[in-house]
Symmetry: C2
Subunit: 328 residues, 2 copies
């Protein structure tokens, strides 16, 4: 949530000279992006976003993310489209950082999504999966099951300090996930967003108007993406003090799944795997939040998100017997 | 440089219902403002800025700042104009904070202003002073000479830790300012911006396109505003390692003064007072930076600005014999 790299007017002018976008009219640093610096850029031809990739981003992966958005946009899917310079390339360098200009996407992110928005999001997610079915590039999910044990190693104490007995919930979840390992591997795979939280989805009123921030996108089980969304959209938001009392909102979950299935029906194995996929998705976000929570210095302005919100989800999914519990 | 208050889509919709601005199309937190939260807001009728005033802002002063911008905009001066709701008021409440919508101003802030921009800025400053000549509201300069001694009290050691002997420069500056006290009081007064740094001024190419951030505006000597600008625009930017070697750029200073005088010629007393006004302006920014420098926790993401950049200016102004040294 910060502007890490300042862009001077001279550097911007030199950068824009490679494009047919006219001259700059406005440039505002935007408080979005943890690994990137983002500017709202207006030129005499229109509104854009300018993204500079900071040091933590693996520059070798940028062509994948750019190619993915070009593919989606080429299919008419609402997402920011990388703008090409006159030389036909979208990725170049600005202030010593890899940088791209992308198109501006209208819409607002819902803070507390309603049931209609959950349904529209489900449809939007399934349409994304279909639009990406013939996207040829692949990327391993760097935060998939193999990454979880190393993230958890040595954090039993941190977890129990947050909530007495929490490490037992985490261990029980690990056991369930391990038992379902083979099920995971056989599910239909494809390109997934993997981080389609409400702040990465735009709406105009209740209509889904697009998805942004594809920097966790990867090749994985399609139904896992639905599980990420069920975690992110269908639990009623808690806050620090009652994070552990977060509850599943059945209407929202059922609407999200129904929206998804209206475009891409789940197979029987996908439906059967839903509880353990949800458990896995909750594990992934619980663990990265736990790491951020325990490693962020007290004085930092970026407040880490509370891992307990995902501990509550872990506990919920552990109790779940079948997909019908989610409204599927 | 942060978004302190999140605005939910429901709260925004309720807020916008008081205006004739259509429905929201985009809302982006902008990394501007230390005391405020700012959003780029686009609606079906156009582009705006939404400002929420945080707790450190004195709400009783907001009508002054809003009235000032309304006055300037009413005279056709390029600045953000507060947008009135259907009830005729501009200031209302959003997410528990005082909030206003202002018009969007085109332009980019120069990082290293050139001579032509300095001249244009001088003209723009003088035009602002003329446009505000009949602005009836007043506000005391809360960071004027009376505030300086309390800010300095007990900081001799901090100053000398930054640079050996720096406290002597500061004391010498205090002595010169004290001697010129009566001169200050007799200069033509009016409404001044008091913080017109390059990041608060917009340009399209080399043309001044407007001023923003009037939250230090007050009633004070008009020539003091010019002195603030000479400090902010006519020294070639240093960085932390060689901040003490910052140098006055005569071409920029002379251009700024010439631009100002092309619209509003300085009186003889104003011209004579220029060195001590510049010294006072340098003192004001040196002291607030010194306080921020020594009171900001090490882990904070907002890096305080280096007070030594203003120590270099203090030393320069102390040596200055007359206004001709600035190109006046």
């Amino acid at each position: 949530m910060a502007v890490y790299t300042q862009v001077s007017d001279e550097a911007l002018a030199a950068f824009l000279a490679a494009y047919d976008l006219g001259s700059p009219v406005a440039l505002k640093g935007v408080a979005e992006g943890v690994e990137n610096t983002n500017y709202f850029l207006e030129t005499t031809t229109g509104r854009y976003f300018l993204t500079l990739f900071e040091k933590r981003v693996n520059a070798a992966e940028l062509p994948y993310f750019i190619g993915l958005k070009q593919h989606l946009a080429g299919k008419g899917y609402p997402c920011p489209e990388p703008v090409m310079g006159r030389d036909g390339t979208a990725l170049r360098t600005l202030e010593g950082r890899p940088a791209v200009i992308i198109t501006f996407l209208d819409g607002l992110s819902p803070r507390r999504p309603n049931v209609r928005q959950c349904r529209a999001l489900g449809e939007g997610l399934a349409k994304m999966h279909l639009a990406l079915a013939d996207f040829a590039m692949t990327r391993e999910n760097s935060l998939g099951p193999k990454a979880w044990a190393p993230l958890w190693a040595g954090r039993t104490g941190d977890a129990n300090a947050l909530q007495a007995g929490l490490s037992e919930t985490v261990e029980a979840a690990f056991t369930q996930i391990l038992q379902a390992r083979n099920t995971f591997a056989d599910l239909p795979r494809g390109t997934i967003h993997a981080d389609l939280f409400p702040d990465n989805a735009f709406f105009l009123g209740d209509d889904f108007s697009g998805a942004i921030d594809f920097y966790f996108a990867c090749t994985d089980a399609l139904a896992y993406d639905l599980a990420v969304c069920l975690n992110a959209w269908a639990f009623d938001e808690g806050n620090a003090s009652d994070a552990s009392r977060l509850e599943f909102n059945f209407s929202k979950g059922a609407a999200l799944i129904a929206g998804y299935q209206s475009v891409r029906p789940l197979s029987i194995p996908e439906r059967d795997a839903l509880p353990v996929l949800c458990l896995g998705a909750a594990m992934r976000f619980f663990l990265t939040r736990l790491v951020d929570w325990t490693s962020t210095p007290a004085g930092a302005l970026v407040r880490p998100k509370n891992p307990l919100e995902y501990a509550a989800r872990l506990a919920f999914h552990l109790r779940m017997k079948g997909a019908e519990g989610y409204g599927a």
